[in-house]
């Protein structure tokens, strides 16, 4: 068996634009899941609304494509009602952190035993490129035509402050690392949050000087700073540029969790 067996092949190709990183992240997630020896019949994928949230529709297991922002609340119901089910959530930055922010922090607080993969493309893809709460300052979108004036969230910081047991960030470039992080997330009891920075060539790239898909992937790669390196830089009093983001495992702990399979 390989991870390809988890795809609902009759629905491929998916609706994602050419070069969209969402497909990559689904691959990495399924590759991790494939290593878990999970029963397909006991695995459920859940999502909200957005390009990213279409992912469960391409996977053969039971899946629940819900309302915008509410995936984690639905997932809480599924997981608490039947802890035997393995529950994995796909979400986007808008879905998770704009309209869904409250369910996000509460699911972290409850530390419910699910794994959340956030495809953070820093934009609302599905609706055509509006600013999201992770759009970097100064970036362009259809609702920030003069450059975004608001500060973005650091979703991982938020998850940590709210109580998640496992938090990691990688990018669509770091496929192997991402796969591994998802696997650790799946293995860790309690709430696991994996943020995957990814390219949206259609709506982010096009408006922010990334002519080609490859340019945006390159930018993700070059602006990603390994946590260990960041820590070293801080120690040495080095300056960390504003537009860098930290990648790596950001927390792994053992707070009491809810809905753990017994």
């Amino acid at each position: 068996m390989t991870y390809e067996d988890w795809f609902r092949k009759d629905r491929l190709p998916h609706i994602y634009c050419a070069g969209c990183g969402n497909g990559t992240i689904i691959n990495c997630t399924l590759a991790a899941i494939d290593q878990m020896n999970w029963n397909k019949d006991e695995t459920v994928f859940i999502s909200g609304i957005g390009c990213s949230s279409r992912a469960p529709g391409y996977i053969v297991t039971d899946s629940l494509h819900t309302t915008h922002g509410r995936a984690l609340a639905f997932a809480t119901g599924v997981k608490l009602a039947n802890p035997k089910l393995n529950v994995v959530i796909f979400t986007g930055d808008g879905d998770l952190a704009a309209i869904g922010g409250n369910h996000f922090i509460h699911a972290c607080r409850r530390n419910i035993d699910i794994t959340v993969i956030c495809m953070n493309n820093q934009i609302y893809g599905m609706t055509g490129g509006q600013g999201s709460p992770t759009t970097p300052k100064g970036c362009f979108s259809t609702t920030t035509p003069y450059g975004s004036a608001e500060s973005p969230f650091d979703l991982c910081e938020l998850a940590i402050a709210a109580g998640a047991n496992y938090v990691a960030r990688w990018t669509s470039y770091h496929v192997k690392e991402l796969e591994k992080a998802v696997k650790v997330g799946l293995e860790t009891p309690g709430f696991s949050f994996i943020e995957a920075m990814t390219q949206c060539p259609t709506n982010f790239g096009r408006r922010n000087k990334f002519k080609e898909v490859l340019d945006q992937v390159e930018a993700l790669k070059t602006h990603a700073l390994l946590k260990a390196k960041r820590d070293r830089m801080i120690e040495q009093g080095e300056n960390i540029p504003d537009d860098f983001f930290i990648i790596g495992e950001l927390i792994r702990r053992n707070r009491p969790a809810m809905g753990v399979k017994t």
Binding site: P13, I15, Y16, C17, A18, C51, R54, M126
Partner: protein, 181 residues
Amino acid sequence: MRHEIRFSGFGGQGIILSAVILGRAAVMYDNKFAVQTQVYGPEARGGASMSALIIDDDPILFPKVTNPDIFMIMSQEGFEKYGANAPESAVMVLDSSLVHSRPKCTYYEIPATQEAKQTLGRDIVANIVMLGALITATKIVGEPALEKAILDSVPKGTEALNTKAMKKGIELAAQSGSKNP
């Protein structure tokens, strides 16, 4: 007279912009009435994109295109989905560099993409070439109107290129002339 025009091609060709420009030309510079509509949605991604335009001398009541009499087709998939059923009385302008099939109606073969790339150096203006051909083939709006509408709509600095593209289309249509199946 009510004319219903259907535009189709793939994403990135400027299919919708073409309809908007033509509608704008009719309304703003030819003092006609026009309604432009299009297909939205993620399902429109990747596949054939479609836009429709009605031009009339009188106010337009029913706003949807049901029996197009003019077609501008820029991809094979677009032809199959939106052009293959064109009635014999229609006129179709097709990008012969991308559309392999031919309709049952009068048609104009315009190698717009090829010309745009080779002669004009930017395949992005293929749709403007097509528009030039379209008005030549149908007289649906006047050339000055179209030119103004194009200049209203294109990015600063590309005006000359676009005008050239339009003229190229006019020229190509005149050269090739109409074909009948």
